[in-house]
């Protein structure tokens, strides 16, 4: 599986492209998607971004999606460009950096950089989503407004996971990490997740997604005893390589019946274990998603995460 289409809703707002032939909507009514074309240069993207800022009522913009900034497999994300526009985007609350499909640039090739600058520049940002992890860096920060943080990747560096664990995010309710595979730089270990699973710096967390992970089984085993679980309403282990081993550990651990939702779709469970998971938790009122089952034996002996390329 690859990511093949753009989001149509972001931060609860319908997405509007810029530039577009369509009539221009109110600046605060949509999530603006600014994207270059397949032959855009980074300079042209910079001009496009400036045109956007001076064309729409930038002061009213609430949500922004940065799509293809041009040769995104070679050119680092325009992080400084976005950060330096903070004073002109005072109401920006949601940012998606690198929203590209496989056809534009596959996820494991998208060149990111140090995204700390974005969090520093936008202290009121509430939603921050990043796609791609090549060159991705993050320094531990304290951010009082951030509610939703997501790193989508085919391989998330352990350094980034550790940095997330060291951040103070008192308002964060939604944390989503796509760990990916070590083939694409996803070298995070369960130990790297420990501060997150302890939840000390994440007092408001209700959704935890450790997704698209080759190490799903180890993650599941760690979650079985993780303090943070008690405050969650949604646990999302989808898109990864979850097998019977992980689910046995999960079911043998702390109670999960307080969850509203457990999502393990795209898994490698036997039919028996999938049924057991559904019945044990389903009867307790948990909405369990065991859709998109993969062959438990894998393909030619390999089990793949859903999104790597």
């Amino acid at each position: 599986m690859t990511i093949n289409e753009h989001v149509t809703v972001f931060a609860g707002l319908p997405v509007a492209a810029f530039p577009s032939d369509e009539p221009t909507p109110d600046a605060d009514a949509v999530a603006w998607r600014i994207s270059g074309d397949w032959d855009t240069t980074i300079e042209e993207f910079g001009n496009l971004f400036e045109t956007f800022l001076s064309t729409v009522d930038a002061a009213a913009v609430r949500a922004l999606i940065i799509g293809d900034w041009g040769n995104s497999y070679e050119t680092t994300a325009p992080i400084e460009l976005v950060a330096s526009a903070a004073s002109r985007l005072p109401r920006l609350r949601a940012l998606f950096l690198g929203e590209m499909t496989y056809e534009e640039c596959e996820i494991s090739w998208i060149k990111q950089g140090d995204v700390t600058a974005v969090l520093d520049a936008y202290p009121d940002l509430e939603i921050f989503r990043v796609r791609g992890a090549e060159g991705l860096r993050l320094s531990p920060v304290r951010h009082g407004a951030l509610r939703e943080l997501a790193f989508e990747s085919g391989g998330l560096p352990g350094e980034v996971v550790r940095a997330v664990g060291e951040c103070d995010l008192p308002a964060l309710t939604h944390l989503e990490l796509w760990l990916g595979t070590d083939e694409y730089g996803g070298d995070a270990t369960v130990d790297d997740l420990a501060p997150i699973l302890a939840g000390t710096r994440l007092p408001a967390l209700t959704y935890l997604g450790i997704r698209d992970a080759e190490i799903s089984d180890q993650v599941a085993a760690a979650i079985a005893a993780a303090p943070v679980v008690a405050r969650l309403s949604t646990l999302d282990l989808s898109l990864g390589v979850l097998t019977d081993t992980g689910v046995i550990a999960l079911l043998g651990g702390q109670p999960l019946v307080h969850l509203q939702r457990l999502d393990v779709h795209h898994h490698f469970l036997s039919a028996e274990l999938a049924a057991r998971l559904t019945s044990e938790l389903g009867e307790a009122g948990v909405d369990v998603d065991v859709s998109d089952p993969q062959d438990p034996e894998g393909e030619d002996g390999h089990r793949y995460v859903a999104v790597a390329e």
Partner: protein, 354 residues
Amino acid sequence: MGNPDNRRVAFLRAAAARTGVLVRQVVPWRELAAGTVTLARRTLVRVDSPGEDAEVDRLLRGATAPARHGEIVGLRAWYRGLRAALTRLAEAADRADALLLSPPDDVLIMFDKGACHAHLAAAGVPVPPALPAPGGYAELRAAMRAAGWARVFVKPAHGSSASGVLALQVAQGRVRATTPVELAAGGALYNSLRVRTYTDERAIASIVDRLAADGLHVERWFPKAGLAGRVVDLRVLVVAGRATHVVVRSSRTPMTNLHLGNGRGDLAQLRTAAGERAYRSALDTACQAASCFPGSVQVAVDLMFGPGWARHAVAEVNAFGDLLPGVLSAQGRDTYTEQLVALRTFAPGVACAT
């Protein structure tokens, strides 16, 4: 002109029976591939695909043995054979005062991707930019560097459907090719129904080098739009200047060809996503592409939308792309019936309209 046992011929016969058109004769491709043919006097001659017949393929290539199943071999020789056969067909048509509904010149351009690309570009049809045909992998990489392109589609100049096509990307010292080509031990190439990924540059180079011997056409990878979680493009059949049949082809890979296990997508959903203006504009482009082949009663255009739907480009133009079972025109006609009805008014060179 066809392979008599092929379903294409069966579909045409059924359509002829429905519309009251007399099928005077089916001239087997094996006859034409082997030598000269005689056509019935003052007839309209539908030229259908020589494909799916190992013996015709062997004859066109002038080879002694048929190709192994799925093997990509002798594409240039096949093209030369096609050119010679269609030249004989044109002569036979002259002798019989018959009209070929797919003129040889049109078919030959459509089976030469480099020539076809140039032909369309010269007429102002939007196509992705192309590189000069490289003689091998090293030349390809050098040309990509010179052009500043990291992602290209590499296509055999004389291939059909996704046969031998590679979606190639190179960046940050990595290389990846996504393709239905299977590299067998000993270096032979096979088309498979499974799209696979190569990251070993030696394997990729050996595939490209082998394909290059029979001619390549390389275009910059035009990113395609997505719909319902899949990559999509359109197959638009243009009959006598009108876009009559449209199929959404959807895929989880960059190759949307339907024989690769890809599904047909939802056209209504695509029209909604694209917006009616972008959709109509794309159909206009399909007609414009078809009008570059004014002597052909039908031309099948593969048309790609960019990710935001606003842009589109023509990926391929197919001489024999009208095998679209179950797809009906606005008038409720299948592709074969539509063409037979169009023959009542078809005049080669008719203007284009949607």
